[in-house]
Amino acid sequence: MKNKIWRQTLFILLLALAGGCSGGVEKKTEEGVFKVGLLSPGPVNGQGWTQIAYEALLQIEQDLGAQISYVEVEQSPALFERAFRDYASQGYQMVLGHGFEFQDAALTVAKDFPDTYFFISSSKIHEGNVIGVDSDSSQPFYLMGVVAAKMGRGAGLIGGVEIPPITNAFIGFINGVRSVNPDFPVSTTYLGSWTDAAAAKEAAFSMIAEGADFIIPDADAAGSGVYQALNETGPGYWSFGIYNDYTSQAPSNMIGNYFNDYGQGLVNIARQVRDGKFEVKTNVEFGLKDKDVIWVEFEEGRVTAEVLEAVDQAVADIVAGKIDTLAPIK
């Protein structure tokens, strides 16, 4: 009996402590502070997709002096709406939902908060203050396809989960390949996971055994398993870093890196929002035309001048709108 009383007392004490200090921690909402929030669909330090958004957020903080905040909402759509609403009601001027899945929730909340901009990654939406922001990965992947078809015997693509941002990138790749050699073999594997690096590694080995010598991941944190597979297999097998510089993970296998400075793109938008200059005309779509957002860098001496030339030509054609990188594959 004594025991029980002791436990109860302890709990009440704890509650009191917790309640007592809750008054002191309330954040003061200062007038004029630019606030940006992020809804991340996974751990912000997961490599790849989720990290991009987090780094963008940090960049906004650094470049624009914004007050930032993020929340990981796992994959549960039920939680999205609340997070949007919380940010908006706290006076955040800009909230980014990092993935198409945030679209429904943003649309619902946006009606009640006309002064907040809701940006949705990977979305092409444009409805009031809900604006899709997308980077068209099919364009850089198109370039990789061109390089692969010109240099290699076969290519393998390893995706995390079968969703539009990934499938679109892969369509771009295949279109790039077909522009050089319609018979060049390309295979695709989906892991069903963004974290299972071991599976990615094995998928890469499988593709190598099937004769592919260009293996390109688009699978977030799991993707680095692919680089490890190439590193272990040795030279003569190639890949590209996706979104970031991954050269150190497989130094002798990297043809180059596809950089996506989504952060820079968002900083550009955020600056306009902060300064009240953002005008909603259409959804935002970054492509090779936005040279400070999306670009591909090649490692020194890994590609011939002829290949480089073809790539440059492709870039020019894409920017000029002569090539549709998302053209349906027959």
């Binding site: 704890l14 809750s22 002191g24 796992e74 759509p77 039920a78 198409f100």
Partner: protein
Amino acid sequence: MQLLRSIGQIIVRPTAAVAVALLVGGILLIFAGYSPLTAYGVMWKGAFGSMNNIAETLLKSTPLILIGSGLAVAFRSGIWNIGAEGQLYAGAVAATLAGIIFTGLPAFILVPVVLVAGALSGALWGGLAGFLKVRFGASEIVTTIMLNFLAIIATSFLVTGPMIEEVGKFPQTAQIAEAAHLPRILVPTRLHVGFLLSLGVAAVTYLLLFKSSRGYALRTVGISPDAARYAGINVGRGLLAAMAISGGAAGLAGAVEVSGLTFRLYQGISPGYGFDGIAVALLANNNPIGVIFTGILFGALRSGSEVMQMNAQVPSVLVSVIQGVVLLSAAAFGVFKITITNKQNEE
């Protein structure tokens, strides 16, 4: 006297368990360089600080109460249903299908249709494990875990393949009909009638377990299969019923999530409600009325932890640690007095 004691049992030990868990969480927070009091303060406010926050907490408690009530029936009947997560998915799939197919129906028909579809589907998915146990002696612990994976994989297949939306082609289904949406209570918050439904289900399962003759039979099966046979109760049928009831409650939770919040089906529609539901039921000593409180407790932990992450930048994964330690210390305090195996199939 009896009532007082049982209330004591329901409240004191879980409370102590929560205290221990908060302490452990606090140590972790200090280790990671956060102020525990600040973090918990924000968490408290995030869970109960405003009308909207309370509504959000109750929203998260809704599936937990539904699942926990069902699992209370299963656990009281001596069958270890670890498969509420999969049963929730099964329910969500069926509810979505119903909500998409029967678009022409008026709300007062469509809402019940959607909910019943979800409950039935969950009951079947759960009943499958019950059937495997009764017919083949397959451990329900292992089969329900396998059925979880199968339901989640099947959902992934459906939303990327056969059920994918027409426009956009994102891996999600089309929206269910407007008429299938659960009405909201407490506008402007999102709280919907699903919460009231969960309270109703808790009450019904409580009545079923403790006030009805079927519940009497189930509890007898759970405590002593021999005595149940002696009393003329069909033990196998009881186990099957218990699995179907708990599966049905989990399926209903899936349907409520779809028709009350998401309005369509996605791959990750549950962030582990099925597993939290196990903790919720056990912590309440498998009493559905207690489940209401433990469900709200776990809902508040989840809900508060999100706000804690937003406003104090403390990783919300901490809540898993807190929930786990709640269970561990509750186990250590002797809250759970049931052994795992029941031997009723050895005939």
